[in-house]
Symmetry: C2
Subunit: 416 residues, 2 copies
């Protein structure tokens, strides 16, 4: 079966000047991948006529489907619509349905339409108008010589709605979609090369129809298995057989599979075990609570948190003894032990978690340099602590502390 | 003066399959932009020999400097080094200094070196070895026919160190760097098209040497002014003149300029006014505390927070009256009023902030649908509240709540 090749073009000076991160291309990649459409290239070009037209032409030479984001705003620096009209050699005309939709969009929000917004309903005559229900810039669909084009706004939730409602359901009607299956094994608490050493023999013995990739990210390593074939169930079974084979070797590092995040895996573990958690976050400043509460349904196991950022409140609200703070310091095993046990009592939860450290860039000493962090997990009859020696970078220290605390909770739930 | 053209090539199936976000290209863009080097294209290709070699060739035809990230890991799916050797037609040989550095890297961490890691010290004979002090994959520098190439690992902090220590200082020695000046005006609390309407006459009257771009992001709109010329001071003055001209029209929406974030702007406002803040976060679950505490030095004005995620603790820890919770509900003006005033007292802070809402996807009612959020800011003799009607998306609601709360604090600091 022929591979369907997709190309993503993101348009906007702000993407090349580095003023915003292009999260759209990433999301589109994920969705196409799940359908077995192969993204062969992602290209970002600026608000420049020649560069945009060149990107259109080279994409048309390579791809079956071309997805374009950005450059559709109402303001004058946005060129995409005019250049698509030029590229496809057709005039921009008023599209009655599109103008009506823009007007209704403003009406629903109780706002006056501005003249430049009304112009967003004028489209190249050779495109199919694709309604954008959550914004003012319409989607535009083009077809030429067996290549399909979709132009979408750069605003992420508008692009996603157009992809979900229109593009993704449309693709299987245009192409015979091949069979590719991905499975992701998600590990925490082990580095990439140690993991690679653990599983090298297994990796070398994988059949040629299954590819393995290591995807390291902050404090995690993901193993992606990609299977190719003609029968979905058969590929899934082949991959599962390989996972079952390596499982005993790496099971203790695995927190989940596929789209599971560490925080959602922990949510499931707490739910299944009917346990609750509360947090006392110092150096992590609320980031772990944010991760936990970002999961829908977390209110059933997340009791709450105290962030005693100023030391005085480690005593006043969390009742860490002043002697402990004076004798051992706020960044100490003794302090996080008290923080975790006391926050557990305060919120009447099964587990209490604590972090205290020197996030940086200042505040370090010879004895406790920047990046020194103590974490703790308290339960019914235990407190488990761990010292981390992290980096010079404040944000990295916050993120790595969060991964370590969540992993400590995971281990405590599983072992206790 | 000739424009120096850069191209960024990111390598890795995981980037095309959408399994990780490429933050590297974004960061590189920012740094090059600050130096006046024009990034003309960003390209992402997979772990595929033909595609990678094609990307090398087309970049070489366009760019003066080519920055390559990824594909340098110790594992078998990483191809960059072998393909650079092929492209430049030179063998891979042991580089004594590089092997030594890899060994020392492991030694410093008290770990045994693995055989595949040792191979990371073998490099194409035609490249210059650039030491990577924070990882095991070396940087590689190539020069051919006036085009310069740098290959770096995909791990963000390793790439950043190589860029900062080697590439960025090297560029001005290779090229006459042109003069481009950017200024960013950062606004909050006004939508893109309203802002565009407010400043249209000014925008249309801008001189041809200054370009304006609208960069909308969650709850913010940034205005980027880009000036071109031959004298840096002169360009800066021209831009400042334009800013001064439009300032009275939009001043109340501006929280900062250039790399200022809303949370860092608020940090400065609090510091200058010698004020402190504490938070009671319900629906935002710690995210606002995280934003505030992500700023270095925030411990001087951020007293702490309580996250009473379960309603019981809105009463038990924050002393919101049970009658208030029963009569008006947790998501109500009355509740956030009490939360903000009580958290202010609890932490003895100048300002107390509160959020309570239905983040979703479930928990909505006809009267209070998903996306209903109440926020409050309490001070010495006032409580200012605001109702938000946000989206169906949990994460978006958390993020938009954070922007609204921070903006409310900004307004309160300025007005009180």
């Amino acid at each position: 079966m022929r591979v369907v090749r997709a190309e993503i073009i993101a348009i906007g000076d702000e993407l090349l000047y580095g003023q915003i991160v292009d999260t759209n291309s990433h999301w589109i990649s994920q969705e196409l991948d799940l359908m077995g459409v192969k993204v062969v290239r992602k290209t970002t070009v600026g608000d420049d006529r020649k560069d945009i037209l060149a990107a259109f032409a080279s994409a048309e030479a390579r791809a079956d489907i071309i997805l374009i984001t950005g450059g559709l705003g109402p303001t004058q620096d946005d060129l995409t619509k005019a250049l698509m009209a030029e590229y496809f050699n057709c005039p921009i005309v008023e599209n009655v349905a599109a103008v009506k939709a823009v007007k209704e969009f403003f009406h629903r929000r109780g706002r006056e339409i501005t003249p430049i917004n009304e112009l967003q309903g004028h489209l190249p005559s050779c495109c199919t108008y694709i309604p954008n229900e959550v914004g003012t810039a319409p989607g535009m669909w083009f077809e030429r010589n067996g290549t399909y084009w979709m132009s979408m706004p750069g605003v992420p939730h508008e692009m996603k709605k157009l992809m979900t409602d229109f593009v993704l359901p449309k693709l299987p009607t245009l192409f015979p979609v091949p069979i590719i299956v991905h499975r992701m094994i998600k590990t925490v608490g082990i580095g990439e090369s140690w993991l690679a050493d653990l599983i090298r023999d297994w990796e070398n013995a994988l059949p040629s129809t299954i590819r393995l990739a290591y995807l390291p990210s902050l404090g995690h390593v993901k193993l992606r298995l990609t299977g190719f074939g003609t029968d979905k169930i058969e590929i899934e079974n082949d991959i599962q057989k390989q996972i079952n084979f390596i499982l005993p070797t790496i099971e203790k590092y695995i927190y989940g599979y596929d789209s599971e995040s560490l925080e959602s895996a922990i949510g499931k573990l707490l739910t299944v075990n009917k346990k609750t958690v509360a947090l006392a976050e110092s150096c992590s400043g609320g980031y772990i609570s944010h991760l936990i509460s970002s999961i829908a349904g977390s209110s059933s196991y997340f009791q709450g948190a105290v962030i005693p950022y100023h030391n005085q409140f480690k005593n006043e609200i969390l009742h860490v003894k002043n002697e402990t703070l004076t004798s051992f310091g706020a960044v100490s095993e003794e302090t996080v032990q008290e923080m975790s046990t006391h926050v557990r009592e305060l919120f009447n939860s099964d587990f209490g978690l604590a972090s205290s450290g020197i996030a940086g860039p200042t505040g370090g000493t010879d004895e406790k340099p920047v990046g020194t962090v103590w974490i703790a997990c308290a339960g019914n009859s235990f407190v488990q602590t761990k010292k981390l020696q992290l980096t010079q970078d404040r944000m990295l220290n916050i993120q790595l502390t969060a991964v370590a605390v969540l992993n400590l909770l995971r281990i405590c739930i599983l072992e206790k």
